[in-house]
C-alpha cells in the first residue's frame, strides 16, 4: 500500500495516474459511445424505447432503410460536392493569401492575423451572418452581383433547390480559408531563404521557383492541410443549421446533417446511428492517413 502511494507521489505511478484519468474520461464519453453507436444502429430506437439501455433488435432493417431511401444518393453526392468544393477553394484562397502575406512588407503579419478573426467566431453566428448576406430580396451579395452586372435578377440562394448547397458552401469557404492560410504560412516560413537566393542566382523566375522549391518543400504541409480540411468539413454542422436547415427538399442536406435530422427531428435514432457509423468510419480513415503521414514526416 505504501509502495503504491510512494509510486504515485514520486515514481512512474504519478505519470500512469495522470494518463489514466484522462483516457478513462475519453473512454467513457467518446470510446463507449463509438461502440454503443454500432449497437443502436442494429436496434429500433424511438421515443418509446428511448430511456432503456437495450432496445428491440432490428437486424439490418435500419441499414436497408437508409440504402433504400431516395434521399441517400442525393445526400452522398451533396456531401462529396460540399466537402471537395470546400477543401479545394479554402485551400486555393488560403494558399494565395499565405503566399501574398509571405512577401516582406510593413504590417504583413498583423493584417494577416485579422483574417483569423472569422475563424474564432462561433459557427452558428457565421451561419446567421451569411444567411443575411445571401438573403434573396434584400441581401447585399445579390446587390453587389447585380451592380457588377454578373446577375440580372436576384438569386434566392437559400430557398432555391439549385443554389441552397452553394449558399452553405460559400459561407464555409469564407469560414475555413483563414485556417488554411495560417497553416500554409507556417509551412512557407519554414523554407530556408537561401534556397530562393540560389535559384535566383541561377536565373530561375518566380514561377519556376514556386514549382521547383515552394511546392516540393511544402509537400508535407499541403498534405496535412488537405487532410485536416476534409476532417473539418465533415464536422461542419452549424452553418447548415443556421442557413438552410438542409432544405429546401433536402437539396442542401449532407450526411452529418441527415444523421442528426433522423435522430433529433424524426426521432429515429437507429437510422441516425447508421449514417453516424458509416461517416465515422470515413472520418477515421482520413485521419488515419493524416496521422500516419505526419508521423512519417516528423516522427510525431
Amino acid at each position: 500500500m505504501t509502495r503504491i502511494l510512494r509510486s504515485l507521489r514520486d515514481g512512474i505511478g504519478f505519470d500512469v495516474l495522470l494518463v489514466i484519468i484522462a483516457l478513462s474520461y475519453l473512454l467513457v464519453f467518446a470510446g463507449l459511445p463509438l461502440i454503443y453507436n454500432v449497437i443502436i444502429s442494429f436496434q429500433t430506437v424511438d421515443v418509446f424505447s428511448l430511456g432503456t439501455l437495450w432496445h428491440p433488435n432490428a437486424g439490418f432493417d435500419n441499414y436497408r432503410a437508409i440504402f433504400d431511401d431516395p434521399l441517400a444518393g442525393r445526400v452522398l453526392w451533396q456531401t462529396i460536392v460540399f466537402t471537395l468544393g470546400s477543401v479545394a477553394l479554402q485551400f486555393t484562397f488560403g494558399f494565395a493569401l499565405a503566399l501574398f502575406f509571405h512577401q516582406n512588407f510593413t504590417g504583413a503579419t498583423w493584417i494577416r492575423g485579422l483574417f483569423l478573426a472569422a475563424w474564432v467566431m462561433p459557427g452558428l453566428v457565421v451561419g446567421v451572418l451569411w444567411n443575411w448576406l445571401l438573403s434573396g430580396d434584400f441581401g447585399v451579395i445579390n446587390h453587389l452581383l447585380e451592380s457588377l452586372g454578373l446577375i440580372e435578377d436576384p438569386v434566392f440562394w437559400r430557398s432555391n433547390v439549385e443554389t441552397s448547397l452553394y449558399a452553405v458552401l460559400i459561407a464555409n469557404i469564407w469560414y475555413g480559408t483563414p485556417f488554411n492560410m495560417i497553416l500554409l504560412a507556417v509551412g512557407l516560413a519554414a523554407i530556408p531563404g537561401d534556397l530562393y537566393e540560389a535559384a535566383e542566382l541561377d536565373g530561375a523566375n518566380a514561377f519556376q521557383r514556386f514549382w521547383t522549391i515552394t511546392l516540393p518543400m511544402m509537400r508535407a504541409t499541403i498534405g496535412a492541410v488537405l487532410a485536416l480540411g476534409i476532417i473539418f468539413t465533415l464536422q461542419q454542422f452549424d452553418l447548415f443549421a443556421a442557413i438552410t436547415q438542409g432544405g429546401p427538399a433536402g437539396s442542401s442536406t449532407v450526411a452529418q446533417y441527415w444523421s442528426w435530422q433522423l435522430s433529433f427531428r424524426e426521432f429515429d435514432f437507429g437510422r441516425g446511428a447508421v449514417i453516424s457509423v458509416l461517416m465515422i468510419i470515413v472520418v477515421l480513415f482520413v485521419s488515419l492517413i493524416y496521422v500516419r503521414s505526419t508521423k512519417a514526416e516528423t516522427q510525431l
Binding site: L17, A22, A241, Y257
Partner: protein, 275 residues
C-alpha cells in the same frame, strides 16, 4: 520600382483584401444599428444613419439575451474546467516520455479529436437518456462536449510542456521535491502561457457550442446563446437588425479577446496543429 513604393502598394493591397474579407463583420455591426425600414432599403445603405441603439435595448429586454449568454458562460466554464483539470496532466506525461505506450496513447487522442459532434451526439444522447443524465441537460452537454475539446487541449498543451526543459524538473527532484511538487512548482508555472491560451481556446469553443446544446437542452431557460440565435430564424424573418444586434453582442467579447491575444492564439494554434 523602388522598395518603398513596392512596400506601400503591397500594404494597400493587403488592407483592401482584409477589408473585403471582413466585410461580413462590418455588415453585422452596421445592420445592428439600422432602423427597420433602412435594413430593407434598395440599394442597401452601406453607411449607418443615426445609430439605433434601441435595437440593443430591445434584445436585452425582449430576447432575454442575458439569460442566453449566462447559459453559454456556464457551459463554456464547465467545459474549460473539466478539460483543463483532466487534460493538463495527461498532456504533461505525453510530452515527458517517448516510448511505445506514449505513442499509442497519443494516437488514441489524435483519433478521438476528429470525431464530429453531429455524429457522436446520437449515441451520446441515447446513452445519456438511459442513465438519466438528460435530467441535468447543461451538465450533460458539458460532459459530452468536454470529450470533444479534451483531445484538442491535450495536443496543444503537450506542445507547451515540451518547451519546458527536463533539466529544471530534474534539478527540483534532486533538491528533494516530490514529483507532485515539481509538477506544481516548476513545470506548471513554466508552461503557464501555453496552458492559458489553450484553455482560452477551449472556452471560446464552449461559448459557441451548438450541436450538443441543440440536441440535449430542451428547456428554453437553460439554452445557450447559439440556440437563442436560431430561435429568431423563422421562415419570413424581418427583424434582421435585432438578430444582428444579438449576434454582435454575442461575438464582440470573443473578437475582443482575439484582438488582444492575437499573436499568442495564432502561435498556440499553429504549434498544436502541425506537430
Amino acid at each position: 520600382m523602388s522598395g518603398a513604393v513596392t512596400n506601400r502598394v503591397l500594404l494597400a493591397v493587403a488592407l483592401a483584401l482584409a477589408a473585403v474579407y471582413l466585410f461580413p463583420l462590418y455588415w453585422m455591426y452596421v445592420t445592428s444599428l439600422k432602423t427597420q425600414s433602412s435594413i430593407f432599403a434598395v440599394p442597401p445603405e452601406f453607411l449607418p444613419g443615426a445609430p439605433q441603439w434601441d435595437n440593443y435595448a430591445t434584445i436585452w429586454e425582449v430576447a432575454n439575451i442575458l439569460r442566453y449568454i449566462g447559459n453559454s458562460l456556464v457551459i463554456a466554464s464547465g467545459v474549460t474546467l473539466i478539460t483543463a483539470l483532466v487534460g493538463s496532466g495527461c498532456a504533461y506525461v505525453l510530452a515527458r516520455y517517448r516510448n511505445g505506450w506514449i505513442d499509442a496513447a497519443l494516437f488514441a487522442v489524435l483519433m478521438l479529436q476528429v470525431l464530429p459532434p453531429s455524429l457522436m451526439v446520437t449515441p451520446i444522447f441515447v446513452g445519456f437518456a438511459s442513465v438519466g443524465l438528460l435530467e441535468y441537460p447543461r451538465f450533460a452537454t458539458i460532459l459530452a462536449f468536454s470529450a470533444k475539446t479534451m483531445p484538442f487541449f491535450v495536443i496543444l498543451c503537450r506542445a507547451a510542456f515540451m518547451t519546458v526543459p527536463r533539466e529544471l524538473e530534474e534539478a527540483a527532484l534532486v533538491d528533494g521535491n516530490s514529483r507532485i511538487g515539481a509538477f506544481f512548482m516548476i513545470v506548471l508555472p513554466l508552461a503557464r502561457n501555453g496552458l492559458l491560451i489553450s484553455a482560452l481556446l477551449v472556452f471560446m469553443n464552449g461559448f459557441g457550442e451548438y450541436v450538443y446544446s441543440a440536441s440535449i437542452i430542451a428547456d428554453n431557460r437553460l439554452q445557450p446563446a447559439s440556440i437563442g440565435m436560431t430561435n429568431f430564424l423563422q421562415p419570413n424573418v424581418v427583424n434582421w437588425n435585432a438578430i444582428m444586434a444579438f449576434a454582435a453582442t454575442y461575438v464582440t467579447p470573443i473578437l475582443a479577446a482575439f484582438v488582444l491575444l492575437q499573436r499568442q492564439i495564432v502561435n498556440g494554434l499553429t504549434a498544436g496543429a502541425l506537430k
